[in-house]
Amino acid sequence: MTPVQVTGLGAMVPHGSDLQTLFAAIMRGDSAIHPVFPELARPAAAATVQDFDVARWFTRLQLAGVDRVSQLAVAAADLALRDGGDGAGAAPERMGIYVGCGMGGAAALDAAYRGGGRVPPLTIPAFMPNAAAGHIAMRLQAQGPVLTYSVACASSAVAIAEAAKAVQRGEVDVAIAGGSEALIVPGVVVAWQAMQTLAAFDAQAGARAAATCCRPFALDRSGFVLGEGAAFMVLESAPRARARGARVYANLAGWGLSNDATHLTKPDAAGQARALTQALRQAALTPAEVGYCNAHGTATPIGDVVESQALVRVWGDAIAELRVSSTKALHGHLLGAAGALEALITVLALHERKLPPNAHCDAPDPACGLNLVHEPDTAAPTLQAAVSSSFAFGGSNAALLFTRC
């Protein structure tokens, strides 16, 4: 099978858009999480994109009916393509766009509900979940497959896997794959609070309490924090990348997709293990050859234990050598864009041979039993392969396995 390579990266996420700056912040363990919506009955925190200059990508006229989720998506996809050398002249009909998005234009829908009966006429085109993909296609003039995957928290990991298949099969020369999510609006935050999955924190204890409230794999973890943003990567075949002299960040050596088929929201170690095993098999790697896992790690009481069980099941005796961290502690849970951002961080970790810390975990939960990365800026001079996991409501699991070139 033709190897698939990552030749461009782009992000518009809570830690910014400059790849080196955002990776350095993650490596230091800087949290982008802060309190939001003080008017809500229960304290709320989120990681938001603070320095997004939308005027770099849209005139005010172009913004008509364009929700924030599409704005962030266009920016990140454009940055990815530029980082990859503008696709090296891929013909428009040979370029595909693969976008993960869980909810679509949440701000547009929230505004419609709050409009007192006056519903803005562009609510539908702003809200529809595939709007982001359509806007990217128009902006980048991609005329091949332009697809949207809505698989909850695995959306963008699935999008990347599907894009890799299209590259491998020769359906497209260049794929821009990733995801976007922008649902930090009061109605959605309250809905997630009602689901009892968000991290608790003492609103009177200051910003630090909010910034550190997401504690994956820690004994005192209580859930995740919502995040927003978009991240994309450029995928192309190794022969094409070589022929054009592209800078290659990593190989996307394997991917695995599975479903628990047991429960809509309760995670299942066997289902997760199937996805991880598939990715290893496709990459023709043994577990011992994979040195780092960017875990799904949502910091829910059950989720982290089940994920640990899945990793132990697949890695077996090699589990002690697998370094693990969940960077959601720092950038929040980007839901439909989580897989893409975490894949991007995994690729940079592999490329730089540095491991991001599993932050805010002073007391690891012995029930998880993983070799967590505790220190910031941890060097990994022999790292050859790394995996990024995404597990979703709906039972879908996705694993993306990257190797060094």
Binding site: T59, R60, L61, A64, G65, R118, P120, P121, L122, P125
Partner: protein, 82 residues
């Protein structure tokens, strides 16, 4: 009083289009205000001028035509309340 100046101000405020560059008698679509943006603009006009544009005016294409319709609707509203 014509609503044209207010409409020009609104279009500048909302879309950053300088009135000097948009001939009131030229097609708004031709100036880059596509069908989606125009629908959104008409919605804003309704809010701003407290009028309701009948459906038959949804294909209005020039700012001058829109100003005439808004003038008529405002005059009609004024006469009804007088």
């Amino acid at each position: 009083m014509s609503s044209l100046k207010e409409l020009q101000d609104l279009i500048q405020q909302k879309y950053g289009i300088d009135p000097a560059t948009l001939d009131p008698n030229a097609s708004m679509r031709g100036a880059g205000i596509d069908s989606l943006a125009l629908v959104e603009f008409l919605f804003e006009v309704e809010d701003r001028f407290t009028v309701s544009l009948p459906d038959e005016y949804s294909n209005i294409d020039t700012l001058a035509d829109l100003a005439r319709v808004v003038d008529e609707l405002r005059a009609s509203a004024t006469s009804q309340t007088a």
